[in-house]
């Protein structure tokens, strides 16, 4: 019997066009723009200035707090300028722009392909090193990884859960990574287990990737404590709360973190980055990005340097199709629509999805017919119809009472609504306001 999470969920058309496409190494771009805010938390502080020579993997911006992340140069060359450039958020934000010269890596990085299985670093060293390497959650949330590995006093962690679910339609980066870098992910898992001092790790993979389930299960037999959990295909299984529920049947209480139920979740891509940082001394400056879409001529999975212009990835996948109506950074359920393709990819760029005109626009909004389908699909057990109405009307106390802050913004409600109501748009508005009110109260 396949496991899945207990409440709600939807099953959008999977459309994994780029599945099975080998990870292709994208040529180093001529110029990169590396935003200093690529993660959740405080933006980092540039430590290079115009004209400085940098090598691949050299620290160029320093973390400015516990919840923040270092940024390393993805290319070698000269710092051209530090300026505000348009990024995926649609706003101009500070970025370090580097003109590439050659491809000279920092000497301390081990560039060999050889698998290093023996883990010599101590748990404390691992956490420190993960922080130094600027590793953030590569599933898209970009939460600094070392923070999750630092179990707060008084809490215990007894299981590590790895997210190999990739529940977003279209995206195949994690799938391909598991197929090609399975051993590295296994060692990375053991590193994380050591850091967290746990004996058990579960890798959750949805059943639409039977090859990855088989491959990882075969590999796991060589590594102590790692099991693979096949999961029924159900969105949003990749959500941290849903994944823990699906794998070990524990539900995180409202407003709490996974550690409350003794679990830590990391994405498989993040795990690979941890392996590389600890065993190969390689900081995070490149990642796998899926470029896909119905009209894309060559849907692909690329290994690309952070700061590479989106255009270059799209060109490598056969160029922007004629009928393009929307370009999305991430998957179709939670990704961000971009106003321009002239933006850099960041640590959180799991995919670029190009949507044709005919599905780029939303359908006409009709009146709510109270069909209760939004309630049925909500994985958090909320009442989206009510939350959207009270948010629309500005009744913030009621919104708080109805647990609007529990919403994980998975979009299942808007996806399902037969009346095409923009439920999540209103709920986001409500969350913003309720969050502000709650913060002002604790001040």
């Amino acid at each position: 019997m396949l496991k899945t999470f207990s409440l709600g969920g939807v099953h959008p058309a999977e459309n994994k066009f780029s599945a099975g496409q080998k990870i292709e190494i994208l040529p180093v771009p001529e110029q990169v723009s590396v935003p200093i805010a690529q993660h959740i938390g405080a933006p980092s502080e540039p430590i290079v200035k115009k004209g400085d020579e940098v090598k691949v993997g050299q620290l160029i911006a320093k973390s400015t707090g516990f919840v923040s992340a270092n940024i390393h140069s993805p290319v070698s060359g000269k710092v051209f300028k530090i300026d505000n450039v348009l990024d995926a958020s649609g706003y101009k934000k500070q970025a370090i722009i580097i003109k590439t010269e050659g491809d000279e890596w920092d000497e301390s990085i081990d560039r060999s392909e050889e698998l290093v299985k023996e883990i010599t670093a101590s748990p404390e060293e691992i956490v420190k090193k993960v922080g130094e390497a600027g590793i953030v959650g590569l599933g898209g949330a970009t939460f600094p990884a070392h923070v999750k590995l630092s179990v707060p006093p008084g809490k215990t962690c007894d299981v590590l859960i790895l997210n190999g679910v990739e529940c977003e339609p279209y995206l195949t980066a994690d799938h391909q990574l598991m197929m090609e870098k399975g051993d590295e992910i296994m060692v990375g898992t053991q590193i994380l287990m050591k850091a967290l001092k746990v004996e058990k790790a579960i890798i959750g993979i949805e059943n639409n990737k039977p090859d990855a389930i088989k491959h990882m299960t075969d590999l796991a037999s060589n590594y102590a404590g790692i099991t693979i959990q096949a999961l029924k295909v159900q969105y949003p299984q990749g959500g941290e709360k849903q994944l823990i529920d699906a794998c070990i049947g524990r539900q995180i209480p409202s407003g709490k973190l996974p550690i409350e139920v003794g679990a830590v979740v990391q994405n498989v891509g993040t795990t690979l980055a941890v392996y590389e940082a600890i065993q190969k001394n390689k900081p995070l400056f490149e990642r796998v990005v899926t470029v896909t879409g119905k009209s894309v001529s060559k849907p692909s999975n690329f290994m690309a340097r952070v700061g590479t212009p989106l255009n270059q990835l799209i060109d490598a996948a056969g160029g922007l199709p004629e009928d393009t109506g929307k370009v999305i950074g991430g998957g179709p359920m939670m990704g961000k629509a971009l106003s321009s393709t002239d933006v850099p990819i960041t640590k959180g760029s799991s995919g670029i999805l190009i949507m044709p005109n005919e599905i780029a626009k939303r359908a006409k909004v009709e009146p709510c017919i109270r069909c209760s389908k939004c309630v049925t699909v909500c994985p958090m057990g909320l009442s989206p119809y009510l939350l959207s109405t009270v948010s629309d009307k500005g009744i913030w106390d009621r919104a708080e009472e109805e647990k609007i802050m529990d919403c994980i913004e998975c979009g299942s409600c808007s996806f399902t609504c037969p009346a095409s109501r923009p439920l999540l748009d209103y709920i986001r508005l409500g969350k913003g306001n309720v969050g502000r009110i709650m913060r002002s109260r604790t001040k």
């Binding site: 709490k256 409350e260 139920v261 679990a263 009709e366 109805e402 808007s414």
Partner: protein, 334 residues
């Protein structure tokens, strides 16, 4: 280059629509319509056509001339109301009464509250109950099935199983003697009895239920709660005094229970949102139905029961919430 559309996530939609759901329910009603046409023939054709056409025309006219807003007749909801209204009327009802019923259903039941999505009560039942109170004679003449296939106003009428039971018990007869005066359970199940045009054939209505469950148009909660609570309540009464109270099967297969539980009580707009709320609402309908049937003045109580429970829906929605994620905390293993 093309201008790019920018909007918040999600960027895909299930493709479900109000229209698909409304027409889905209409398709689910087709087996019952076929049964209605088989048993009541000409009368069923006239009643159904009149109700559907006048409901659609009234909605169109009210939107065009009174509300002056965009027409929504193509979404299928007005036609659905018309169809359900027809199913709740005897097949020999004069056209002018059907038109009045349609006007009340659409005009008062639906549009006066703001149209689709805003009506607190099931519009078809508002129309039906209005007619039942205003035209009690015409609304309780029941054409005999099959015999009246080629008749409309001139159809020969007879009693429904429910009225036979009600009057008989009032006259001191026992359940077992009365059961011999009505068709067998098999015939009741197939719909061979007097009654409203679309309520008679339980089998056809159940086929519609299965269709709606498969297409995820509705969930099982309301029909199961209504049918289950009626079965349990009448079962208890029957156990207590078998000669005074008819058994569950009799109650489930006669009158409007199946039509009500499957199609009327499950009306999206006038039913609760949370699963638990749906169960409470369904049980409420079941209990009120039995109370009216067994202890009240009317032989049938489904319509009243649904309308009464419609009135409780806002209250139910306020206090009965869906089960939230993380409500039951499972502690981490030590």
């Amino acid at each position: 280059m093309n201008r790019l559309t920018v909007s918040p996530s999600p960027h895909v939609h299930s493709g479900d629509s109000v229209k698909k759901n409304m027409y889905g329910v209409i398709i689910a009603l087709l087996p019952a319509l076929a049964a209605s046409l088989y048993y009541f023939g000409l009368g069923a054709v006239i009643v159904t056509l009149t109700a559907v056409v006048s409901c659609v025309v009234f909605e169109w006219a009210i939107q065009k001339y009174l509300l002056k807003n965009e027409s929504t007749i193509l979404d299928g909801s007005a036609a659905l109301t018309g169809l359900l209204l027809a199913f709740n009327m005897p097949s020999n009802l004069p056209i002018w009464i059907i038109i009045i019923g349609s006007l009340v259903a659409i005009g008062i039941g639906k549009m006066s509250f703001g149209g689709l999505g805003n009506n607190p009560f099931n519009p078809a039942l508002v129309g039906r109950v209005f007619l039942l109170i205003s035209f009690p004679v015409q609304m309780t003449l029941w054409p005999k099935p099959i015999e009246s296939q080629m008749h409309y106003l001139d159809a020969e009428t007879g009693a429904t199983p429910l009225s036979v039971m009600k009057e008989g018990l009032a006259n001191g007869e026992t359940v077992s003697t009365l059961m011999s005066k009505i068709p067998s359970y098999t015939e009741l199940f197939m719909g061979n009895m007097g009654g409203s045009a679309g309520e008679i054939a339980a089998i056809a209505l159940l086929v519609g239920l299965i269709f709606m469950l498969i297409r995820k148009i509705i969930t099982w909660h309301i029909p199961v709660a209504v049918i289950g609570s009626i079965a349990i309540f009448t079962g208890i009464l029957n156990l207590v005094s078998p000669e005074q109270y008819a058994g569950p099967l009799f109650h489930l297969l006669t009158g409007g229970v199946m039509l009500g539980a499957i199609f009327m009580a499950t009306d999206y707009v006038s039913s609760p949102m949370a699963n638990k709320g749906m169960l409470i609402y369904g049980v409420g309908i079941g209990i009120i139905t039995v109370v009216i049937r067994v202890f009240g003045a009317y032989p049938e109580g489904v319509s009243f029961a649904i309308l009464i429970m419609n009135g409780f829906v806002p209250l139910i929605d306020k206090y009965v919430k869906p089960k939230r994620f993380g409500e039951v905390v499972k502690p981490a293993k030590a």
